[in-house]
């Protein structure tokens, strides 16, 4: 699976494409064949709807005629009916059983590069039949052992900024509405359920010069991770299931660390339900821009403003309000016309 060695690349890519085909045609994850072609849509709405349920997710996609903004909205609305039962134990990206893990920061990384299933190298041609590796390829997920971030080597050498943590408890955006100055945890939560397209747009502004010019992906991984929950009676930790997730660490530029004046690299983190690399990368870039605005070469821009990001990336909110303009505004518009006429008369006098 490694694409480290140049000569192995072609084979790795071919295997990667083949795995991707199997994944979206039902030979990979799905117990239910009907679910497989909907995988990325399902993953996207579970993340944006902030509810991980494949069963409800599929129902939401069907109920919305595959309008994914609307489908995410169904999930979010359903959330409101669910009583919170408690908190699972903290999930770390190291615990992910990765089926794909790459770094564009260095060729050689501990535990190796693993291309896994990806559409990155598939030619986007609709009418031409493409052939994929006929060699039997099996997708292996790592099992049991933790896989460190490819950036941990630099971290050990104390070359990476540590974000300041001033929060005793993470903020909870589902229980109160965050106020400025926005805690990092509230921004991360908003982004974890943000709309992929909106986040992509904002992240893109930083790439085009309104922020950090060219971030590098330090570690990107997709895979399954166990959700561990303390048993309500025994208190023992019990695995209640596995969820698909995506985690990304991005490296930005370096600057003098105010703590000791040493030069250090700034990093950003992205994490979301399901396989959604675009969203996780966008999130890590936004985190980078928000946490270290002054590190950005391109200076500050919209993406470095917490105010701008926190209020404008939620698809369910922006979609709802945009559509509300279809409602009657007879009274307000009539009142507008009244003052318009009065003002006109005053002007003519």
């Amino acid at each position: 699976m490694s694409y480290v060695a140049i000569q192995g690349g072609a084979e790795a890519i071919s295997a990667s494409k083949s795995l991707y085909q199997k994944m979206i045609h039902g030979n990979f994850l799905a117990k239910d064949a009907q679910q497989a072609p909907l995988l990325f849509g399902l993953d996207r709405i579970m993340s944006e709807g902030a509810l991980y349920s494949q069963q409800l997710g599929l129902k939401a996609i069907k109920s919305s005629g595959c309008d994914l903004l609307e489908a995410a909205f169904y999930l979010r609305a359903h959330r409101s009916t669910c009583q919170r039962v408690g908190r699972c134990s903290t999930i770390t990206s190291y615990d992910i059983r990765t089926i794909r893990r790459i770094s564009s920061a260095s060729k050689e990384i501990p535990d190796g590069q693993m291309l896994g299933p990806s559409s990155d190298y598939i030619l986007k041609l609709l009418t031409k039949k493409q052939s994929f590796s006929s060699k039997p390829t099996k997708c292996r997920a790592t099992t049991g052992q933790q896989v460190a971030s490819a950036l941990d080597e630099l971290r050990k050498q104390n070359k990476i900024m540590q974000p300041e943590v001033n929060e005793e408890e993470p903020f909870d955006i589902t229980r109160s509405s965050p106020l400025p100055p926005y805690p990092r945890s509230s921004l991360m939560q908003m982004m974890a359920r943000g709309e992929t397209g909106s986040m992509l747009g904002f992240a893109y502004t930083t790439m085009r010069g309104y922020g950090d010019v060219h971030p590098t992906i330090g570690d990107l991984r997709i895979g399954m991770v166990a959700v561990v929950y303390p048993h309500p009676f025994t208190g023992n930790e019990v695995t209640v299931g596995e969820i698909r997730v995506t985690a990304v660490e991005t490296v930005g530029s370096f600057k003098k660390d105010p703590i000791d004046g040493k030069l250090r690299l700034a990093t950003g983190f992205g994490f979301c339900f399901g396989f959604n690399e675009t969203k996780a990368i966008a999130m890590s870039i936004l985190d980078l821009a928000l946490t270290y605005p002054s590190f950005s070469i391109g200076g500050t821009g919209v993406a470095t403003s917490a105010e701008m990001i926190i209020h404008h990336i939620d698809g369910i909110e922006s979609m709802g309000f945009t559509n509300h303009f279809k409602l009657p505004h007879y009274v307000t518009f009539q009142a507008d016309l009244h003052t318009f006429n009065t003002a006109g008369e005053h002007r003519d006098d």
Binding site: A77, T81, L179, E307, I316, E317, P328, T339, A343
Partner: protein, 279 residues
């Protein structure tokens, strides 16, 4: 997939919204942030008002829902049906019979009483948005009652147009303290907020804000000392259907001229009834 509970939400959510409401009532005109839940109805379509209504409604309440003054408009019907489907409360179009009234853009014509709660759907909770979009600075301005930029807007409009150009969402000062957005009600309804016997609650779902005007609170529109607050007037006009005058009218452009109908359709029904009974 669980059955929905009374009032759609789980009890914790309702409790939390009620806490925000209590705070809002204690600080008239102050904007209280709350963790606005996603509703099965889209943001911008009344989810703030809906959450307030669902968190306060009881089995013996009688519900009235209006949109632009009308009980029969699609959005009002949709919201009323949804509330009924999760609470099975009785509904009415008669203002006097209702205990909880959810509204968009109007206050019913018939005066409200101490036993009633009027819940407003609010699109933009923050009155300072037009002069200061930044949330942190807005909060600071409220804390210091620094409203001079709203007054400058009023000055500019008065100088150039003879009066403020704000036709709805007219800024009001609550109890001589905070300045507040009264939701997009027409100017006609602004004086009717003052000293109102009913509890007035405001919910903004997308903006995640709640605020309130307790019963019998002083509400004054921002107006220069040497100017009178102007409201929409309809001199010499009466409703084409019920014949009432001195209410807020919808203007309907017909092929042969302009017709006027009561904006408050329930009030129109009552007036028509009274007229027919008298005849």
């Amino acid at each position: 997939m669980t059955e929905t509970t009374f009032g759609f939400f789980d009890e914790d959510a309702k409790k939390e919204i009620r806490r925000a409401l209590l705070k809002a009532i204690s600080l008239p005109g102050y904007i209280v942030p709350f963790a606005s839940r996603e509703m099965p109805i889209a943001r911008g379509w009344g989810t703030g008002g809906l959450q307030v209504t669902l968190s306060i409604i009881k089995e013996d309440d009688v519900l009235k829902v209006i949109d632009q003054g009308c009980d029969g408009s699609v959005n009002a019907v949709n919201i009323r049906d949804f509330i009924v489907s999760t609470t099975e409360v009785d509904t009415t179009s008669l203002t006097a019979k209702a205990t909880v009234i959810q509204t968009r853009h109007r206050i019913p014509e018939q005066p409200l009483t101490e036993n009633q709660i009027l819940v407003f759907q609010v699109p933009v909770a923050e009155v300072l948005t037009t002069v200061e979009p930044d949330t942190a600075r807005q909060k600071n301005m409220h804390a210091h009652r620094e409203y001079s930029r709203l007054w400058v807007l009023l000055y500019e409009d008065t100088a150039q147009y003879g009066d403020s150009r704000i036709s709805n969402r007219y800024p009001v000062e609550i109890n001589d303290h905070y300045v507040m957005d009264p939701s997009p009600i027409p100017r006609y309804d602004i004086p009717r907020l003052n000293n109102n016997p009913a509890l007035l609650l405001f919910g903004a779902g997308r903006e995640k804000r709640i605020y309130a005007i307790p019963p019998y609170t002083k509400v004054t529109p921002l107006t220069f000392v040497d100017r009178d607050f102007q409201v929409e007037t309809f001199p010499g006009i009466s409703c084409k259907r019920c014949g009432t005058s001195d209410v807020f009218f919808d203007e309907i452009q017909g092929v042969d001229g302009t017709y006027y109908y009561c904006s408050d359709t329930a009030n129109c029904d009552s007036m028509l009834n009274r007229k027919q009974n008298a005849a």
